[in-house]
Amino acid sequence: MKIVVAVKQVPDTATQVKISGGDPKAIDTAGITWIVSPYDEFAIEEALRIKEKRGQGEVVAVSLGPDRVKEALRSALAMGCDRAIHINDPALASADTLMTAQALAAVIKQEQPALVICGRQAIDDDMGAVAAQVAELLGWPAASWIMEEAVDGDGKTIRIGRQVEGGLEVFELPLPAVVSAQKGLNEPRYPTLKGIMGAKKKEIKDVKAAELGITPGAPQLAVKNLEALPPRPPGRVISGEVKDAVKELVRALREEAKAI
Protein backbone atom coordinates (compact mmCIF):
# COMPACT_ATOMS: atom_id res chain seq x y z
CA MET A 1 0.00 0.00 0.00
CA LYS A 2 1.40 3.35 -1.01
CA ILE A 3 0.96 6.32 1.33
CA VAL A 4 1.77 9.98 0.56
CA VAL A 5 2.59 12.24 3.50
CA ALA A 6 2.54 16.02 3.04
CA VAL A 7 5.24 17.80 5.05
CA LYS A 8 5.77 21.51 5.69
CA GLN A 9 8.94 23.14 6.94
CA VAL A 10 8.21 25.87 9.51
CA PRO A 11 10.16 28.07 11.93
CA ASP A 12 10.74 26.40 15.30
CA THR A 13 8.22 27.63 17.89
CA ALA A 14 10.99 28.94 20.10
CA THR A 15 12.60 30.92 17.26
CA GLN A 16 12.29 34.68 17.38
CA VAL A 17 10.30 35.94 14.40
CA LYS A 18 10.70 39.47 13.04
CA ILE A 19 9.12 41.31 10.13
CA SER A 20 11.56 41.70 7.26
CA GLY A 21 13.05 45.18 7.00
CA GLY A 22 12.66 45.22 3.21
CA ASP A 23 9.29 43.52 2.81
CA PRO A 24 6.39 44.13 5.21
CA LYS A 25 4.68 41.00 3.85
CA ALA A 26 7.46 38.63 4.91
CA ILE A 27 9.53 37.62 7.92
CA ASP A 28 13.27 38.02 8.23
CA THR A 29 14.53 34.46 7.68
CA ALA A 30 18.06 35.14 8.91
CA GLY A 31 18.88 33.08 11.99
CA ILE A 32 15.66 31.07 11.95
CA THR A 33 15.77 27.42 13.00
CA TRP A 34 13.56 25.37 10.69
CA ILE A 35 11.73 22.22 11.73
CA VAL A 36 9.14 19.80 10.36
CA SER A 37 5.75 21.10 11.52
CA PRO A 38 4.84 19.00 14.60
CA TYR A 39 1.48 17.82 13.26
CA ASP A 40 3.26 16.54 10.13
CA GLU A 41 5.45 14.37 12.36
CA PHE A 42 2.28 12.66 13.59
CA ALA A 43 1.34 12.13 9.93
CA ILE A 44 4.75 10.63 9.05
CA GLU A 45 4.69 8.38 12.12
CA GLU A 46 1.23 7.06 11.31
CA ALA A 47 2.18 6.31 7.69
CA LEU A 48 5.25 4.40 8.86
CA ARG A 49 3.18 2.44 11.39
CA ILE A 50 0.67 1.41 8.72
CA LYS A 51 3.49 0.22 6.47
CA GLU A 52 5.21 -1.68 9.29
CA LYS A 53 1.97 -3.32 10.41
CA ARG A 54 1.21 -4.49 6.89
CA GLY A 55 4.78 -5.62 6.33
CA GLN A 56 4.87 -3.97 2.93
CA GLY A 57 4.19 -0.71 1.17
CA GLU A 58 5.85 2.59 0.42
CA VAL A 59 5.76 5.96 2.18
CA VAL A 60 6.45 9.02 0.02
CA ALA A 61 7.03 12.41 1.66
CA VAL A 62 6.08 15.50 -0.36
CA SER A 63 6.89 19.11 0.40
CA LEU A 64 6.60 22.48 -1.33
CA GLY A 65 9.07 25.30 -0.83
CA PRO A 66 12.55 26.63 -1.59
CA ASP A 67 15.83 24.70 -1.40
CA ARG A 68 15.92 24.69 2.43
CA VAL A 69 12.87 22.41 2.44
CA LYS A 70 15.18 19.52 1.49
CA GLU A 71 16.28 19.44 5.15
CA ALA A 72 12.69 18.74 6.26
CA LEU A 73 12.36 16.01 3.63
CA ARG A 74 15.67 14.56 4.78
CA SER A 75 14.25 14.40 8.34
CA ALA A 76 11.19 12.56 7.01
CA LEU A 77 13.47 10.09 5.19
CA ALA A 78 15.55 9.65 8.35
CA MET A 79 12.37 8.74 10.26
CA GLY A 80 11.78 6.02 7.67
CA CYS A 81 9.98 7.40 4.61
CA ASP A 82 11.14 5.59 1.45
CA ARG A 83 11.55 8.53 -0.90
CA ALA A 84 10.65 12.18 -1.23
CA ILE A 85 9.32 14.65 -3.78
CA HIS A 86 10.25 18.31 -3.55
CA ILE A 87 7.98 20.74 -5.39
CA ASN A 88 10.63 23.39 -5.90
CA ASP A 89 9.47 26.17 -8.20
CA PRO A 90 9.77 29.96 -7.71
CA ALA A 91 6.42 30.31 -9.49
CA LEU A 92 4.88 28.86 -6.32
CA ALA A 93 6.73 31.16 -3.92
CA SER A 94 3.59 33.12 -3.02
CA ALA A 95 1.35 30.05 -2.96
CA ASP A 96 -1.71 30.26 -0.72
CA THR A 97 -3.32 27.11 0.68
CA LEU A 98 -5.29 26.53 -2.53
CA MET A 99 -2.23 26.74 -4.83
CA THR A 100 -0.36 24.46 -2.43
CA ALA A 101 -3.26 22.01 -2.48
CA GLN A 102 -3.36 22.14 -6.30
CA ALA A 103 0.34 21.28 -6.53
CA LEU A 104 0.02 18.48 -3.95
CA ALA A 105 -3.08 17.10 -5.67
CA ALA A 106 -1.14 17.01 -8.95
CA VAL A 107 1.68 15.00 -7.33
CA ILE A 108 -0.87 12.67 -5.72
CA LYS A 109 -2.56 12.07 -9.09
CA GLN A 110 0.79 10.99 -10.51
CA GLU A 111 1.68 8.82 -7.51
CA GLN A 112 -1.78 7.26 -7.04
CA PRO A 113 -1.43 6.32 -3.36
CA ALA A 114 -4.18 4.57 -1.39
CA LEU A 115 -3.93 7.08 1.42
CA VAL A 116 -2.77 10.67 1.96
CA ILE A 117 -1.91 11.81 5.49
CA CYS A 118 -1.33 15.46 6.36
CA GLY A 119 -0.88 17.27 9.66
CA ARG A 120 -3.94 19.07 11.04
CA GLN A 121 -2.30 22.43 10.37
CA ALA A 122 1.15 23.94 9.93
CA ILE A 123 2.29 25.92 12.93
CA ASP A 124 3.53 28.93 10.93
CA ASP A 125 0.36 30.23 9.28
CA ASP A 126 -2.06 27.94 11.17
CA MET A 127 -4.45 27.99 8.21
CA GLY A 128 -5.33 24.29 8.54
CA ALA A 129 -6.82 24.12 5.05
CA VAL A 130 -4.51 22.12 2.80
CA ALA A 131 -5.61 18.56 3.71
CA ALA A 132 -9.29 19.34 3.16
CA GLN A 133 -8.54 21.23 -0.07
CA VAL A 134 -6.43 18.38 -1.46
CA ALA A 135 -9.34 16.00 -0.79
CA GLU A 136 -11.79 18.36 -2.44
CA LEU A 137 -9.61 18.76 -5.54
CA LEU A 138 -9.13 14.99 -5.82
CA GLY A 139 -12.78 14.25 -5.04
CA TRP A 140 -11.70 11.80 -2.32
CA PRO A 141 -13.39 11.29 1.05
CA ALA A 142 -11.61 13.01 3.90
CA ALA A 143 -11.52 13.21 7.67
CA SER A 144 -9.90 15.98 9.69
CA TRP A 145 -8.31 15.93 13.13
CA ILE A 146 -8.03 12.15 13.42
CA MET A 147 -6.93 10.68 16.75
CA GLU A 148 -7.07 7.01 15.80
CA GLU A 149 -6.96 5.06 12.58
CA ALA A 150 -7.07 1.46 11.31
CA VAL A 151 -6.70 0.35 7.70
CA ASP A 152 -8.56 -2.90 6.96
CA GLY A 153 -6.65 -6.05 5.94
CA ASP A 154 -7.49 -5.72 2.24
CA GLY A 155 -6.42 -2.08 2.11
CA LYS A 156 -9.88 -1.11 0.85
CA THR A 157 -11.18 0.98 3.74
CA ILE A 158 -9.91 2.99 6.68
CA ARG A 159 -11.65 3.43 10.02
CA ILE A 160 -10.84 6.73 11.71
CA GLY A 161 -11.84 8.57 14.87
CA ARG A 162 -12.10 12.31 14.31
CA GLN A 163 -12.15 14.81 17.14
CA VAL A 164 -15.24 17.00 17.27
CA GLU A 165 -16.56 19.28 19.99
CA GLY A 166 -17.86 17.06 22.77
CA GLY A 167 -16.66 13.72 21.44
CA LEU A 168 -15.04 11.46 18.90
CA GLU A 169 -16.83 10.40 15.72
CA VAL A 170 -15.73 7.10 14.23
CA PHE A 171 -16.19 6.73 10.48
CA GLU A 172 -15.37 4.16 7.85
CA LEU A 173 -14.05 5.65 4.59
CA PRO A 174 -13.38 3.88 1.30
CA LEU A 175 -9.79 4.27 0.09
CA PRO A 176 -8.25 6.27 -1.47
CA ALA A 177 -8.84 8.97 1.13
CA VAL A 178 -7.20 11.99 2.76
CA VAL A 179 -6.87 12.32 6.53
CA SER A 180 -5.30 14.95 8.77
CA ALA A 181 -3.48 14.04 11.98
CA GLN A 182 -4.37 15.53 15.36
CA LYS A 183 -2.13 15.37 18.41
CA GLY A 184 -2.85 12.16 20.30
CA LEU A 185 -2.76 9.97 17.18
CA ASN A 186 0.67 8.61 18.10
CA GLU A 187 4.05 9.47 19.56
CA PRO A 188 6.46 10.27 16.69
CA ARG A 189 9.75 8.37 16.71
CA TYR A 190 13.17 10.00 16.71
CA PRO A 191 15.34 9.15 13.71
CA THR A 192 18.01 6.58 14.57
CA LEU A 193 21.64 7.07 13.55
CA LYS A 194 21.12 4.30 10.99
CA GLY A 195 18.05 6.13 9.72
CA ILE A 196 19.95 9.40 9.39
CA MET A 197 22.81 7.71 7.50
CA GLY A 198 20.36 5.80 5.28
CA ALA A 199 18.42 8.97 4.48
CA LYS A 200 21.42 10.40 2.65
CA LYS A 201 21.13 7.66 0.03
CA LYS A 202 17.37 8.00 -0.45
CA GLU A 203 15.93 9.85 -3.42
CA ILE A 204 14.58 13.42 -3.22
CA LYS A 205 13.12 14.22 -6.60
CA ASP A 206 12.73 17.87 -7.63
CA VAL A 207 9.65 18.74 -9.64
CA LYS A 208 8.51 21.97 -11.26
CA ALA A 209 4.92 23.14 -11.72
CA ALA A 210 5.09 22.46 -15.47
CA GLU A 211 5.97 18.80 -14.84
CA LEU A 212 2.85 18.55 -12.70
CA GLY A 213 0.74 20.04 -15.45
CA ILE A 214 -0.18 23.14 -13.46
CA THR A 215 0.28 26.81 -14.30
CA PRO A 216 0.41 28.78 -11.06
CA GLY A 217 -1.45 32.07 -11.25
CA ALA A 218 -1.93 34.68 -8.57
CA PRO A 219 -2.97 33.46 -5.12
CA GLN A 220 -6.61 33.90 -4.06
CA LEU A 221 -5.54 35.03 -0.59
CA ALA A 222 -2.50 37.21 -0.03
CA VAL A 223 -0.74 38.84 2.89
CA LYS A 224 -1.20 42.62 2.67
CA ASN A 225 1.26 43.16 5.49
CA LEU A 226 2.51 41.71 8.75
CA GLU A 227 2.14 43.62 12.01
CA ALA A 228 3.62 43.38 15.48
CA LEU A 229 1.15 42.56 18.24
CA PRO A 230 -0.47 45.56 19.87
CA PRO A 231 1.27 46.02 23.24
CA ARG A 232 -0.66 44.76 26.25
CA PRO A 233 -1.16 47.31 29.00
CA PRO A 234 1.45 46.78 31.74
CA GLY A 235 0.38 44.21 34.30
CA ARG A 236 0.40 44.40 38.06
CA VAL A 237 1.73 41.91 40.57
CA ILE A 238 -0.44 41.93 43.66
CA SER A 239 1.76 41.39 46.70
CA GLY A 240 0.99 40.78 50.35
CA GLU A 241 -0.54 37.90 52.30
CA VAL A 242 -2.44 35.42 50.13
CA LYS A 243 -5.82 36.20 51.74
CA ASP A 244 -5.39 39.93 51.09
CA ALA A 245 -3.96 39.47 47.61
CA VAL A 246 -6.90 37.28 46.66
CA LYS A 247 -9.40 39.89 47.94
CA GLU A 248 -7.65 42.60 45.95
CA LEU A 249 -7.58 40.42 42.83
CA VAL A 250 -11.32 39.78 42.98
CA ARG A 251 -11.97 43.48 43.57
CA ALA A 252 -9.78 44.43 40.59
CA LEU A 253 -11.39 41.83 38.33
CA ARG A 254 -14.84 43.16 39.22
CA GLU A 255 -14.20 46.91 39.38
CA GLU A 256 -11.27 47.60 37.03
CA ALA A 257 -11.32 44.83 34.47
CA LYS A 258 -15.06 44.15 34.68
CA ALA A 259 -14.18 40.55 33.86
CA ILE A 260 -16.41 38.83 36.42
Binding site: Q133, A143, V164, N225, L229
Partner: protein, 327 residues
Protein backbone atom coordinates in the same frame (compact mmCIF):
# COMPACT_ATOMS: atom_id res chain seq x y z
CA UNK B 1 -30.04 38.89 -2.03
CA UNK B 2 -26.90 39.05 -4.13
CA UNK B 3 -23.86 40.43 -2.36
CA UNK B 4 -25.13 39.26 1.02
CA UNK B 5 -22.74 38.20 3.76
CA UNK B 6 -23.54 34.56 4.50
CA UNK B 7 -23.02 33.05 7.92
CA UNK B 8 -22.92 29.26 8.09
CA UNK B 9 -24.73 28.15 11.24
CA UNK B 10 -23.07 26.02 13.91
CA UNK B 11 -25.81 24.47 16.02
CA UNK B 12 -26.10 22.51 19.23
CA UNK B 13 -27.46 19.44 17.35
CA UNK B 14 -30.76 19.98 19.16
CA UNK B 15 -32.28 22.62 16.90
CA UNK B 16 -30.68 25.84 18.14
CA UNK B 17 -27.77 27.91 16.84
CA UNK B 18 -24.79 28.12 19.18
CA UNK B 19 -24.28 31.48 20.83
CA UNK B 20 -21.05 32.06 18.88
CA UNK B 21 -23.37 32.76 15.93
CA UNK B 22 -24.28 36.08 17.57
CA UNK B 23 -20.65 37.09 17.09
CA UNK B 24 -20.45 35.90 13.48
CA UNK B 25 -23.77 37.53 12.52
CA UNK B 26 -22.86 40.67 14.46
CA UNK B 27 -19.57 41.12 12.62
CA UNK B 28 -21.12 40.30 9.23
CA UNK B 29 -23.83 42.87 9.97
CA UNK B 30 -21.36 45.62 10.81
CA UNK B 31 -19.26 44.97 7.70
CA UNK B 32 -22.18 44.71 5.28
CA UNK B 33 -24.48 47.37 6.68
CA UNK B 34 -27.03 44.72 7.58
CA UNK B 35 -27.05 42.60 4.41
CA UNK B 36 -26.66 39.37 6.34
CA UNK B 37 -28.13 35.93 5.73
CA UNK B 38 -27.77 32.73 7.73
CA UNK B 39 -27.34 29.39 6.00
CA UNK B 40 -28.33 26.47 8.16
CA UNK B 41 -27.61 22.88 7.15
CA UNK B 42 -28.92 20.56 9.82
CA UNK B 43 -31.00 17.49 10.57
CA UNK B 44 -33.08 19.55 12.98
CA UNK B 45 -33.90 23.26 12.58
CA UNK B 46 -36.14 24.53 15.37
CA UNK B 47 -38.51 27.47 14.84
CA UNK B 48 -37.01 29.16 17.87
CA UNK B 49 -33.58 28.69 16.33
CA UNK B 50 -34.69 30.48 13.17
CA UNK B 51 -36.18 33.28 15.27
CA UNK B 52 -32.93 33.56 17.22
CA UNK B 53 -30.92 33.97 13.99
CA UNK B 54 -33.32 36.72 12.91
CA UNK B 55 -32.99 38.48 16.25
CA UNK B 56 -29.21 38.43 15.79
CA UNK B 57 -29.56 40.26 12.49
CA UNK B 58 -30.07 37.68 9.73
CA UNK B 59 -32.52 39.12 7.18
CA UNK B 60 -33.00 35.70 5.72
CA UNK B 61 -32.38 32.17 6.93
CA UNK B 62 -31.71 29.52 4.32
CA UNK B 63 -32.97 26.37 6.03
CA UNK B 64 -31.66 23.12 4.61
CA UNK B 65 -33.08 20.46 6.87
CA UNK B 66 -32.26 16.86 6.03
CA UNK B 67 -31.12 13.78 7.94
CA UNK B 68 -28.18 13.52 5.51
CA UNK B 69 -26.57 16.62 7.07
CA UNK B 70 -25.89 14.88 10.41
CA UNK B 71 -23.30 14.03 11.36
CA UNK B 72 -21.30 16.57 9.36
CA UNK B 73 -19.57 15.10 6.33
CA UNK B 74 -17.64 17.45 4.09
CA UNK B 75 -18.42 15.40 1.00
CA UNK B 76 -22.16 16.03 1.56
CA UNK B 77 -22.13 19.63 2.81
CA UNK B 78 -19.61 21.09 0.35
CA UNK B 79 -21.43 20.37 -2.97
CA UNK B 80 -24.72 21.61 -1.50
CA UNK B 81 -23.23 24.89 -0.30
CA UNK B 82 -21.25 25.31 -3.52
CA UNK B 83 -24.42 25.00 -5.60
CA UNK B 84 -26.27 27.47 -3.40
CA UNK B 85 -23.38 29.96 -3.46
CA UNK B 86 -23.11 29.76 -7.25
CA UNK B 87 -26.83 30.50 -7.58
CA UNK B 88 -26.93 33.42 -5.16
CA UNK B 89 -23.42 34.94 -5.30
CA UNK B 90 -22.81 35.93 -1.68
CA UNK B 91 -20.11 38.54 -1.20
CA UNK B 92 -18.69 36.78 1.85
CA UNK B 93 -19.08 33.43 3.58
CA UNK B 94 -18.30 33.42 7.31
CA UNK B 95 -18.33 30.62 9.87
CA UNK B 96 -17.16 30.32 13.47
CA UNK B 97 -13.97 28.37 14.20
CA UNK B 98 -14.98 24.83 15.15
CA UNK B 99 -13.46 21.54 14.03
CA UNK B 100 -16.22 21.07 11.46
CA UNK B 101 -16.28 24.62 10.12
CA UNK B 102 -12.51 24.77 9.67
CA UNK B 103 -12.71 21.80 7.31
CA UNK B 104 -15.89 22.95 5.58
CA UNK B 105 -14.58 26.46 4.86
CA UNK B 106 -11.40 25.02 3.32
CA UNK B 107 -13.32 22.63 1.08
CA UNK B 108 -15.78 25.32 0.04
CA UNK B 109 -12.89 27.64 -0.85
CA UNK B 110 -11.35 24.88 -2.99
CA UNK B 111 -14.64 24.22 -4.80
CA UNK B 112 -15.31 27.90 -5.42
CA UNK B 113 -11.66 28.67 -6.25
CA UNK B 114 -11.71 31.39 -3.61
CA UNK B 115 -9.44 32.50 -0.78
CA UNK B 116 -9.87 31.48 2.86
CA UNK B 117 -8.73 33.38 5.93
CA UNK B 118 -8.97 30.85 8.76
CA UNK B 119 -9.14 31.72 12.46
CA UNK B 120 -9.53 35.46 11.84
CA UNK B 121 -9.45 37.79 14.85
CA UNK B 122 -10.16 41.11 13.13
CA UNK B 123 -12.19 42.28 10.12
CA UNK B 124 -12.39 45.68 8.43
CA UNK B 125 -13.64 47.11 5.17
CA UNK B 126 -10.95 49.19 3.48
CA UNK B 127 -12.70 50.90 0.61
CA UNK B 128 -14.66 48.10 -0.99
CA UNK B 129 -12.19 45.42 0.08
CA UNK B 130 -12.38 43.22 3.15
CA UNK B 131 -9.16 42.92 5.15
CA UNK B 132 -8.90 40.15 7.75
CA UNK B 133 -6.38 40.03 10.56
CA UNK B 134 -5.13 36.69 11.85
CA UNK B 135 -2.35 35.55 14.20
CA UNK B 136 0.65 33.78 12.64
CA UNK B 137 3.93 32.27 13.87
CA UNK B 138 2.57 31.06 17.21
CA UNK B 139 0.74 34.35 17.68
CA UNK B 140 3.99 36.33 17.59
CA UNK B 141 2.79 38.44 14.63
CA UNK B 142 -0.47 39.42 13.00
CA UNK B 143 -1.04 39.04 9.26
CA UNK B 144 -3.50 41.27 7.38
CA UNK B 145 -5.04 39.28 4.53
CA UNK B 146 -6.81 40.29 1.33
CA UNK B 147 -8.76 38.31 -1.21
CA UNK B 148 -8.33 38.35 -5.01
CA UNK B 149 -12.09 38.02 -5.54
CA UNK B 150 -15.40 37.31 -3.82
CA UNK B 151 -16.73 35.40 -2.03
CA UNK B 152 -14.48 36.32 0.85
CA UNK B 153 -14.40 33.11 2.88
CA UNK B 154 -13.34 33.29 6.50
CA UNK B 155 -13.64 31.52 9.82
CA UNK B 156 -13.87 33.73 12.93
CA UNK B 157 -12.29 32.93 16.29
CA UNK B 158 -14.93 32.68 19.06
CA UNK B 159 -15.10 35.29 21.84
CA UNK B 160 -13.20 37.91 19.80
CA UNK B 161 -15.92 39.68 17.82
CA UNK B 162 -18.65 41.72 19.50
CA UNK B 163 -21.89 39.71 19.53
CA UNK B 164 -25.03 41.18 17.94
CA UNK B 165 -27.55 42.38 20.47
CA UNK B 166 -30.62 40.20 20.15
CA UNK B 167 -33.54 42.30 18.96
CA UNK B 168 -36.79 40.53 19.69
CA UNK B 169 -38.80 42.45 17.10
CA UNK B 170 -36.53 41.53 14.19
CA UNK B 171 -37.40 38.45 12.21
CA UNK B 172 -35.86 36.72 9.24
CA UNK B 173 -37.47 35.56 6.02
CA UNK B 174 -37.20 31.80 5.73
CA UNK B 175 -36.28 30.13 2.48
CA UNK B 176 -36.10 26.38 2.02
CA UNK B 177 -34.28 25.83 -1.27
CA UNK B 178 -34.45 22.56 -3.17
CA UNK B 179 -30.99 21.13 -3.46
CA UNK B 180 -29.58 17.86 -4.67
CA UNK B 181 -27.85 16.06 -1.82
CA UNK B 182 -25.01 13.75 -2.85
CA UNK B 183 -24.72 10.28 -1.32
CA UNK B 184 -22.09 9.88 1.38
CA UNK B 185 -19.23 7.42 1.05
CA UNK B 186 -18.20 7.89 4.71
CA UNK B 187 -20.16 5.71 7.11
CA UNK B 188 -20.61 6.67 10.75
CA UNK B 189 -19.67 3.70 12.93
CA UNK B 190 -20.13 5.26 16.34
CA UNK B 191 -19.98 8.49 18.26
CA UNK B 192 -18.18 8.39 21.57
CA UNK B 193 -19.34 11.17 23.85
CA UNK B 194 -16.81 12.68 26.17
CA UNK B 195 -17.66 12.34 29.81
CA UNK B 196 -19.30 15.65 30.66
CA UNK B 197 -17.49 17.82 33.14
CA UNK B 198 -20.61 19.90 33.68
CA UNK B 199 -18.47 22.90 32.75
CA UNK B 200 -18.54 24.95 29.50
CA UNK B 201 -16.70 23.86 26.34
CA UNK B 202 -13.10 25.14 26.35
CA UNK B 203 -13.21 27.09 23.07
CA UNK B 204 -16.55 28.75 23.84
CA UNK B 205 -16.16 29.57 27.50
CA UNK B 206 -16.06 33.23 28.57
CA UNK B 207 -13.83 32.31 31.50
CA UNK B 208 -11.09 29.70 31.30
CA UNK B 209 -9.05 28.31 34.18
CA UNK B 210 -5.82 26.59 33.23
CA UNK B 211 -3.56 24.36 35.29
CA UNK B 212 0.08 23.73 34.40
CA UNK B 213 2.93 21.67 35.72
CA UNK B 214 2.58 23.45 39.06
CA UNK B 215 -0.60 21.40 39.67
CA UNK B 216 1.76 18.53 40.63
CA UNK B 217 -0.59 15.75 39.58
CA UNK B 218 -3.96 14.81 38.02
CA UNK B 219 -5.68 14.49 41.40
CA UNK B 220 -5.37 18.22 42.08
CA UNK B 221 -7.44 19.47 39.11
CA UNK B 222 -10.54 19.02 41.25
CA UNK B 223 -9.75 22.33 43.00
CA UNK B 224 -9.79 24.09 39.61
CA UNK B 225 -13.05 22.36 38.70
CA UNK B 226 -14.56 23.55 41.98
CA UNK B 227 -13.62 27.09 41.05
CA UNK B 228 -14.97 26.48 37.54
CA UNK B 229 -18.37 25.52 38.95
CA UNK B 230 -18.52 28.72 41.00
CA UNK B 231 -17.69 31.12 38.15
CA UNK B 232 -18.97 29.07 35.18
CA UNK B 233 -15.53 28.51 33.69
CA UNK B 234 -13.98 25.80 31.53
CA UNK B 235 -10.89 24.09 32.91
CA UNK B 236 -7.92 23.51 30.59
CA UNK B 237 -4.29 22.52 30.93
CA UNK B 238 -0.85 23.31 29.55
CA UNK B 239 1.07 20.98 27.27
CA UNK B 240 3.37 19.99 30.14
CA UNK B 241 0.36 18.76 32.13
CA UNK B 242 -1.14 16.93 29.12
CA UNK B 243 2.16 15.33 28.12
CA UNK B 244 2.56 14.15 31.73
CA UNK B 245 -0.76 12.36 31.29
CA UNK B 246 -2.60 14.43 33.92
CA UNK B 247 -5.34 15.62 31.56
CA UNK B 248 -6.68 14.30 28.21
CA UNK B 249 -5.48 16.10 25.09
CA UNK B 250 -8.86 17.74 24.47
CA UNK B 251 -8.14 20.00 27.44
CA UNK B 252 -4.78 21.22 26.11
CA UNK B 253 -4.49 24.96 25.49
CA UNK B 254 -1.76 26.05 23.07
CA UNK B 255 -0.16 25.45 19.75
CA UNK B 256 -0.80 21.70 19.57
CA UNK B 257 -4.09 22.02 21.44
CA UNK B 258 -7.01 24.41 21.51
CA UNK B 259 -6.85 28.11 20.80
CA UNK B 260 -8.95 30.12 23.21
CA UNK B 261 -9.82 33.77 23.56
CA UNK B 262 -11.90 34.14 26.72
CA UNK B 263 -12.85 37.37 28.49
CA UNK B 264 -10.91 36.11 31.50
CA UNK B 265 -8.05 33.61 31.62
CA UNK B 266 -6.76 32.37 34.99
CA UNK B 267 -3.50 30.39 34.86
CA UNK B 268 -2.34 28.40 37.90
CA UNK B 269 1.14 26.90 37.92
CA UNK B 270 1.45 27.70 34.21
CA UNK B 271 4.92 28.93 33.25
CA UNK B 272 3.86 30.54 29.96
CA UNK B 273 5.93 28.75 27.31
CA UNK B 274 5.61 30.27 23.82
CA UNK B 275 3.54 27.35 22.60
CA UNK B 276 1.03 27.91 25.46
CA UNK B 277 0.86 31.66 24.79
CA UNK B 278 0.09 30.84 21.14
CA UNK B 279 -3.20 29.37 22.29
CA UNK B 280 -4.34 32.03 24.76
CA UNK B 281 -2.64 35.36 24.19
CA UNK B 282 -5.75 36.97 22.66
CA UNK B 283 -7.55 36.50 26.00
CA UNK B 284 -8.89 39.85 27.19
CA UNK B 285 -7.84 39.73 30.83
CA UNK B 286 -5.04 37.43 31.95
CA UNK B 287 -4.42 36.41 35.57
CA UNK B 288 -1.34 34.37 36.51
CA UNK B 289 -0.57 32.63 39.77
CA UNK B 290 2.86 31.05 40.03
CA UNK B 291 5.47 30.52 42.73
CA UNK B 292 8.23 31.55 40.32
CA UNK B 293 8.36 35.37 39.97
CA UNK B 294 10.36 34.94 36.73
CA UNK B 295 7.73 32.76 34.99
CA UNK B 296 7.26 34.22 31.46
CA UNK B 297 3.48 34.30 31.87
CA UNK B 298 3.84 37.33 34.17
CA UNK B 299 5.08 39.32 31.14
CA UNK B 300 1.65 39.18 29.52
CA UNK B 301 -0.51 38.93 32.66
CA UNK B 302 -2.74 41.85 33.65
CA UNK B 303 -2.76 40.63 37.26
CA UNK B 304 -0.28 38.34 38.92
CA UNK B 305 0.12 36.75 42.33
CA UNK B 306 3.49 35.23 43.19
CA UNK B 307 2.47 32.47 45.62
CA UNK B 308 1.69 28.80 46.06
CA UNK B 309 -1.35 28.01 43.96
CA UNK B 310 -2.54 25.49 46.55
CA UNK B 311 -3.03 28.39 48.97
CA UNK B 312 -4.43 30.80 46.38
CA UNK B 313 -6.99 28.57 44.64
CA UNK B 314 -9.21 27.69 47.64
CA UNK B 315 -9.06 31.28 48.94
CA UNK B 316 -9.91 32.67 45.51
CA UNK B 317 -12.79 30.23 45.08
CA UNK B 318 -14.20 31.44 48.41
CA UNK B 319 -13.85 35.09 47.38
CA UNK B 320 -15.58 34.42 44.05
CA UNK B 321 -18.36 32.63 45.92
CA UNK B 322 -18.85 35.61 48.25
CA UNK B 323 -18.85 38.07 45.37
CA UNK B 324 -21.34 36.15 43.28
CA UNK B 325 -23.65 35.49 46.23
CA UNK B 326 -23.80 39.24 46.84
CA UNK B 327 -24.61 40.23 43.26
Amino acid sequence: MANAFWCIVEDDRKGSPKKVMAEVLGEAGRLSGGNVEAVWLTDKAGDDGVKQLGAWGATKVWVLENAAFAPYRGEVWTPVLTELAKQHSPKAIFAPVTSKMRELAARLAARLGAGLSADSVGMAMEGDQLVATRPVYAGKLLARMTWAKTPWIATLRPNVFKPADAQAGKSAAVEKPTVSIPAATMKLVERREETSTGLPELTEAEIVISGGRGMKGPENYVILEDMGKVIGAAVGASRAAVDAGWRPHRFQIGQTGRTISPKLYLGFGVSGAIQHLAGMRTSKVIVAVNKDPDAPIFKIADYGIVADLFEVVPALTDEFKKLLEKS
